[in-house]
Each structure stands twice: as structure tokens, then as C-alpha cells.
């Protein structure tokens, strides 16, 4: 039987409508669409897609269950490898991971693995499928620093292995970037994020919020005073960068982290929440990553006309193609090959303009991308009253600076080997705090790898 080269399209909210609300853009597949799409999987003997998945989900196996309509079985297959399938199905860059290596993709569209994973996860939530299973407790205490994707994945795996897991989270809500960073219209909080975190709690994982490791408690205290036998550090890379250009401290210049935290975590866009936000009428978002797209699309939804200002060309945009496409559909203006030079400030300290310079691409730099070079005399000013800096983030030095003997590299990332082991016995790390800002799924992968290594270590020492 011939395989349809075209994937089953996924239903989405219409661009004009969604640009004015925070509801999810993509509706996902229904059961019929999912079963139809699942037929396109060749069920390869040596599946490339599994190798492309950072947590190695048995992709053909779950897709065959979807094809047969056995959605609960499909959910069980996924649960063996992933604790956050509804999240990953939505935010993974599948085009460079599982779907990027799908054999069907050579001659047509790859199988929509992400959308199928999402369907299975949403279906099992809607049908209250319990994937907890029976867990035999071993009573050994393990501490996790940070409740982002790395920490949650590590916690979930260790809890399934019987450990007594406590996650320490600095914020009042759990989830890390899933909660404060990625907006509601890409990743619904109540329905998806909170539900998946609750599923991890059902495995017996305790989450202690409002605990800042390095301030409220140190890693040494966790080990020496609170009896944790091993610790996983998944504290991410949350420290924002600024450009260092004139006017950057003006009122109306925000890091994307601040903007998104106010909107997503603090719900500043809802009138009866107490956190204020000030959104301009003309907003420039500086940067070209997924966070820049999220910030721009959020500002647009709050009523601003919004520009993405990026110093390279469209080809080099680090954001996912799907997100760039969505942003354009919604009416975000892309000022490419453009770099800010100065932010203009009025007498009250507010942003009133942005001088940029045109760029052209020169020779490739260290990252392999062509280096942008200023075009002399090409300065021009755009009228904006708000500038959002989305230039990437670095790890927070707090944990490293309060944990003697914990090695960091020159970018302040924690040094860990391929198992996630740091320079200290029993202390593991993974996710953005080791790699610098990367993806949700690679953080989850690192959390799972560390969990396996911690189990091996603890088993030898204590079991």
C-alpha cells in the first residue's frame, strides 16, 4: 500500500482571531485524524526517529497502537520514556529531532510524531488514564534543584525507581520555563503543564516551592543536615543578557524574561491580578530565538504593533520554523539584518525611539553562521515605546558560588560528564545549567540520563 506523502493537516485557530487572545494556537488532532496520520508510519525495524528523540521514546511502537485505536496502550508506551508528553508534543523542535530523521520525510512530509504524541497525552488526560503503576519505595532521599523540564524528568524517573524525591523550586509555581517562559497560547498552563506536574506528584514526588538553593538552603545542608543521599541540579539558565547600548535602563526596556514572567507567571494581562505590566503601542523585540517569538507574539496579543529586530537574515533565525511562520501570520513585522545601536529616552525616562543600523553578512564566525557586519552610514530610527531584549540567557551563578568544590566552566555552566556527574560525589547536574540555554526535550533527556546514573550510584552504595 502506498504511503500518503502528505501529512494529515492539524487544525489551528485562525490567525486574525488568535492574535487577540491567549488560547492555544494549535488544536491538535482528533482520534480519526490521529489514526489516519498513524497509518503513514512505516514501523521501521531500525527506527531512526527513536535515535532522534533525546529521551528515546519507542515511537513506532506507540504509533502502531494509535493506528489500531489503542490509545491507552500508546500512552503506556510513551510513559516508559517521557514524564511530560503533552508538553514535549507541543514544544519540541521535532523538525530537528524525531521528525527530522523520519524515513517517510525523505520523499514527502515526515510522520507528525509530535502531534501524535500530543494527541495521545491529551487523550489520556481527558480520559483520566492512570499511568502511575505500582512503585516499591526504598526510602532513600534524593534532592532535585529546580522544577523545570530537567528536574521534573529526573524526579519522575527516580520516583518510579522507588526513591523518596524532593524537588526544591525557587518560584511559587513549579515548571520552570514551562510556567514562566512559554506562553499560554503555545502551552496551556492549567490544562497541560499543571496536569503533567500533578502526574509527577502522583508518583510520590514532593515539590517544595519558595526554596532558593544557595540562599534558603545550600547543597551542603541538603546532604549534611537533611539526609539527601544524592542531588540533581537542574536550575537552568535564567540570567538574561543585555546589549550594553545607551538608553538600555530606560523605563520600557525589559528583558524577555521579565516581560514573559509578568505575563505568564504573574498573569499581569488579567486585570484583577495585582502584578502590573506596561505594554507599549510600538514594541521592538531584539533577538531571533523562540523566546523572542514568544515575547513578540505576547506583546501583539496585548495590542501592540510589534517588530522583531534581528541582526542576521531569516535563514539564521534560531527560532523554530513553525513559530516564525505563526508570528508572520499574526502580523509580526520582521526587521532582519538590523541591529540596535541606541535607545532614545524622553525627559521622564521612558523609551521613545530606537536607532538601528543595517547589517550585511560576512564570513562565518565560530558558530558557523555568517557574521553580521554593519553597513556604514545606514543608521535609521524607528519609533518605539517599548524594547524587549531577547538575547539569550546564562546560568545563575548562585548555586556554584555557594557550593564549594563544584566546578564551572568559563561560561559559568556547571561541568558534568556524560552521566551528569559533577566534580562532587553524588551531585549530578543537567539541562541548561550544564549546556547553556537549549531545548525543553534536551533538558528532559539530561534529567533522565542523570536519573539512571544516580540510580546506579545509589544502588551500589546504599541498596
Amino acid at each position: 500500500m502506498a504511503i500518503n506523502p502528505v501529512k494529515v493537516p492539524v487544525r489551528e485557530q485562525e490567525a486574525k482571531v488568535r492574535a487577540t487572545n491567549f488560547e492555544e494556537v494549535c488544536y491538535g488532532y482528533n482520534a480519526e485524524e490521529a489514526m489516519e496520520e498513524a497509518k503513514r508510519c512505516l514501523n521501521c525495524k531500525n527506527p531512526k526517529c527513536v535515535q532522534g528523540c533525546p529521551v528515546s521514546i519507542s515511537i513506532p511502537e506507540f504509533i502502531q497502537e494509535v493506528k489500531a485505536g489503542n490509545f491507552e496502550e500508546a500512552a503506556k508506551v510513551i510513559a516508559k520514556s517521557s514524564s511530560l508528553p503533552a508538553v514535549c508534543g507541543r514544544v519540541c523542535p521535532q523538525e530537528t529531532q524525531c521528525e527530522g530523521v523520519c524515513v517517510v520525510g525523505i520523499k514527502g512530509d515526515p510522520v507528525s510524531i509530535g502531534k501524535l504524541e500530543r494527541f495521545v497525552a491529551d487523550w489520556s488526560r481527558e480520559n483520566n488514564i492512570d499511568l502511575t503503576g505500582n512503585i516499591e519505595k526504598n526510602g532513600i532521599k534524593v534532592g532535585i534543584v529546580g522544577s523545570g523540564p530537567a528536574g521534573l524528568a529526573c524526579a519522575g524517573d527516580l520516583a518510579k525507581l522507588g526513591y523518596d524525591v524532593t524537588v526544591f523550586e525557587a518560584f511559587h509555581e513549579s515548571g520552570g520555563v514551562l510556567t514562566y517562559g512559554i506562553p499560554e497560547f503555545r502551552l496551556p498552563k492549567e490544562k497541560v503543564v499543571n496536569y503533567e506536574i500533578d502526574s509527577i506528584r502522583k508518583l510520590g514526588v514532593k515539590i517544595e516551592n519558595n526554596v532558593i538553593v544557595g540562599r534558603t538552603i545550600t547543597i551542603d545542608e541538603m546532604i549534611e543536615e537533611e539526609g539527601f543521599k544524592a542531588v540533581f541540579i537542574g536550575s537552568g539558565a535564567g540570567l538574561p543578557s543585555f546589549m550594553g547600548i545607551p538608553g538600555e535602563n530606560a523605563n520600557g526596556v525589559l528583558s524577555a524574561n521579565e516581560f514573559l514572567t509578568r505575563v505568564n507567571l504573574m498573569k499581569a494581562y488579567i486585570d484583577d491580578y495585582d502584578t502590573p505590566i506596561r505594554v507599549g503601542k510600538h514594541v521592538a523585540v531584539v533577538g531571533g530565538g523562540n523566546v523572542a517569538m514568544d515575547a513578540a507574539r505576547t506583546a501583539l496579543r496585548l495590542g501592540a504593533d510589534t517588530h522583531i529586530v534581528y541582526r542576521r537574515s531569516e535563514e539564521e533565525l534560531p527560532a523554530r520554523v513553525e513559530e516564525v511562520h505563526h508570528a508572520k501570520e499574526e502580523g509580526i513585522i520582521f526587521d532582519l539584518l538590523t541591529n540596535p545601536k541606541e535607545i532614545h529616552v524622553d525627559e521622564n525616562g521612558n523609551v521613545c525611539g530606537l536607532t538601528c543600523v543595517k547589517m550585511e553578512l560576512g564570513e562565518p564566525d565560530d558558530s558557523g553562521r555568517r557574521r553580521p557586519v554593519e553597513v556604514p552610514g545606514s543608521e535609521f530610527r524607528i519609533d518605539v515605546d517599548m524594547v524587549i531584549m531577547s538575547l539569550g540567557t546564562k546560568p545563575n551563578p548562585l548555586i556554584a558560588s555557594t557550593t564549594p568544590g563544584l566546578d564551572v566552566d568559563k561560561r559559568r555552566c556547571i561541568v558534568a560528564d556524560e552521566d551528569g556527574l559533577t566534580s562532587l560525589e553524588g551531585i549530578y547536574a543537567g539541562g541548561d545549567t550544564v549546556t547553556g540555554a537549549a531545548t525543553v526535550i534536551s533538558a528532559m533527556g539530561a534529567g533522565r540520563v542523570a536519573a539512571a546514573a544516580m540510580h546506579k550510584y545509589l544502588k551500589e552504595k546504599y541498596l
Binding site: 491567549f22 519558595n210 502590573p276
Partner: protein, 297 residues
């Protein structure tokens, strides 16, 4: 759930003190640090001074002034009520905490507190007292009826000098005039000043200490969101550097702080009045009425 209010006192018309049960914070708190509270489900994150802490009772004392809706809401809570979140300790402890005690003893230190600033000054002076270090303190206020923490401060400081703008109590004048008087007329010498109070008061105190050549530390009360270094809402220019007050501070070399910029940033959306005027001036971009948000909540 939440963090229980175990004591509450009204210190003057607009200033309240509360003891909050938060054992982990109490155990780790050091002079110079602060906490963040969220009152309820829809609350904002409010940075507040640590005015005292008691490891045995597991409590942290906060002192706050009513400046807007959130602090008003907090002031209405009673003993036995709980606040939703209480995070800390945040910020770096004061530098002296890690310095050699004998070296500190050789220095003549003056603490200068303006208004509610007496509350964060108190744990620092208390720390000095517990380590056998004598220090002087200036407490300044607009008038006598709003002075706070005088008795507590007298119990731990060598000398406490009071001043009021209207002359209703102590020296008639502001803290910088009193400092001038102490140095120029009363033969006092100081090697270091630690100034905590409203931004404008810290600015003028720094101008004064510069003239008197007394190196000065200030504690900045900037706008904050997370308080852990991940957003930069609290950024300030200190010398040639951009610093985040929540992680690099809140204490900085006062002579290097760009107070004018910091004061402009502080006004961004400080009060509900400010927010209302924002709503008026920014119209529908403040909260877009066409935006069907909240539907899924």
C-alpha cells in the same frame, strides 16, 4: 498552607510589623537581606525588608509601609492568617558579615536610617552589637509620630541620634544636616556610613558623605519581580556596570550609584495611582479589551 502571621503590630499610621512563620528563611537570614511575599492567589511579588529573625521561633519579622493596594491588603491581615508565599532570604548579606570582626571594631561606623529604613538597619546594628562592635545610628523622620524602632535601636547601638524634618523630636532637620552637625560641631569622626531609606534620602546622604569623605554603603529598594536574578527589572547603574539589585545587591557603594536613573525606574508603576494613569495614558494596550484572555482560566 501558606506562611502564618504569628504577630502583628501597627507602628504608626501607615507602617506595620509582622512576624511570619518561615523556619527555613529564619535559619538562613543574615543582615542586609530581604524577602519576597505574595499575599494571595492573584497577588504580586513584593520585596520587603527583613527587620529581624528568630531561629528558635522560626520566624522572620517584616516591616512595611502602605504605598499601594498590595501593602494595604497585607496590612489588613491579622494574627493567625497566612500569606500564600514567603521567599528568601534574598540578596547578598552585608559585606561586614564576612569580614574580620577585629578589623570592623577598629572602624567607626554610622548607620543612617530614613523613615521605614530603621527596620532594615536594625538587624545590622543588632549583628554589630552581638559581635561586640559599638556603632552610632541616626534615625530621621518627617515628624515625631512616625518614628519607628527607636527603643529597639537604643538597645543595640552605642548612640542613637534622632532628627525630624519639622523639629517635633530630636534634632530639627534631616539626616544629612544631623550628620554634618555631628561631624563638624560635635567632634564625631566616621570611617564608614551605611544608609538605608527612601531613594531621594540616600542620594542626598551620599552627596553629604562624599563631602565629608565617609565611604558609604546604600541599600537599594528597586522594583523587583522574581528577586533571584532572572529578569533584570531591578537593574541599576553602579559606576560603569549594570547590576541587578536582587543578586548583586541590594547593598552597593553609594557614591557609584546612579540615583537619578534609579529613581526614574522606581516610578515606573509604583502605586495604584500610577497604574490608573497608565491605563488612561496607554488606553487599550494596558489591557486589551478585545483580548479574550482569561477564558481558559
Amino acid at each position: 498552607m501558606g506562611y502564618k502571621i504569628v504577630d502583628k503590630k501597627q507602628l504608626n499610621d501607615v507602617v506595620y510589623l509582622m512576624d511570619i512563620e518561615a523556619p527555613r528563611v529564619a535559619k538562613s537570614a543574615k543582615p542586609g537581606q530581604f524577602i519576597i511575599v505574595i499575599i494571595d492567589q492573584k497577588g504580586e511579588r513584593i520585596p520587603l525588608t527583613i527587620a529581624d529573625y528568630d531561629v528558635q521561633r522560626g520566624t522572620v519579622t517584616i516591616v512595611f509601609q502602605i504605598v499601594g493596594d498590595s501593602s494595604k491588603k497585607l496590612s489588613k491581615l491579622e494574627i493567625g492568617d497566612s500569606i500564600k508565599d514567603f521567599v528568601g532570604p534574598l540578596g547578598r548579606p552585608s559585606d561586614f558579615v564576612d569580614e574580620d570582626i577585629e578589623a570592623i571594631k577598629k572602624k567607626k561606623i554610622i548607620f543612617i536610617a530614613g523613615g521605614v529604613g530603621a527596620a532594615p538597619v536594625y538587624p545590622q546594628v543588632k549583628w554589630m552589637h552581638e559581635n561586640g562592635i559599638d556603632v552610632d545610628v541616626i534615625i530621621g523622620a518627617r515628624s515625631k509620630d512616625i518614628v519607628i524602632f527607636e527603643d529597639k535601636m537604643r538597645a543595640v547601638a552605642k548612640n542613637v541620634y534622632m532628627c525630624t524634618d519639622d523639629g517635633s523630636y530630636g534634632f530639627h532637620g534631616n539626616v544629612t544636616m544631623l550628620l554634618d552637625d555631628l561631624v563638624k560641631n560635635q567632634g564625631k569622626q566616621y570611617d564608614e556610613a551605611i544608609v538605608i531609606g527612601p531613594m531621594i534620602m540616600m542620594k542626598f546622604a551620599c552627596l553629604a558623605t562624599k563631602k565629608l569623605n565617609i565611604p558609604t554603603i546604600v541599600s537599594l529598594n528597586t522594583i523587583m519581580v522574581d528577586g533571584t536574578g532572572m529578569c533584570g527589572a531591578c537593574r541599576v547603574s553602579v559606576g560603569d556596570d549594570i547590576k541587578f539589585a536582587c543578586v548583586d545587591g541590594p547593598e552597593f557603594d553609594g557614591w557609584l550609584v546612579d540615583f537619578d536613573e534609579a529613581m526614574k525606574r522606581q516610578t515606573m508603576f509604583k502605586t495604584e495611582e500610577g497604574r490608573k494613569s497608565l491605563r488612561k495614558s496607554d488606553g487599550d494596550t494596558h489591557s486589551n479589551p478585545n483580548c479574550k484572555i482569561g477564558g481558559s482560566h
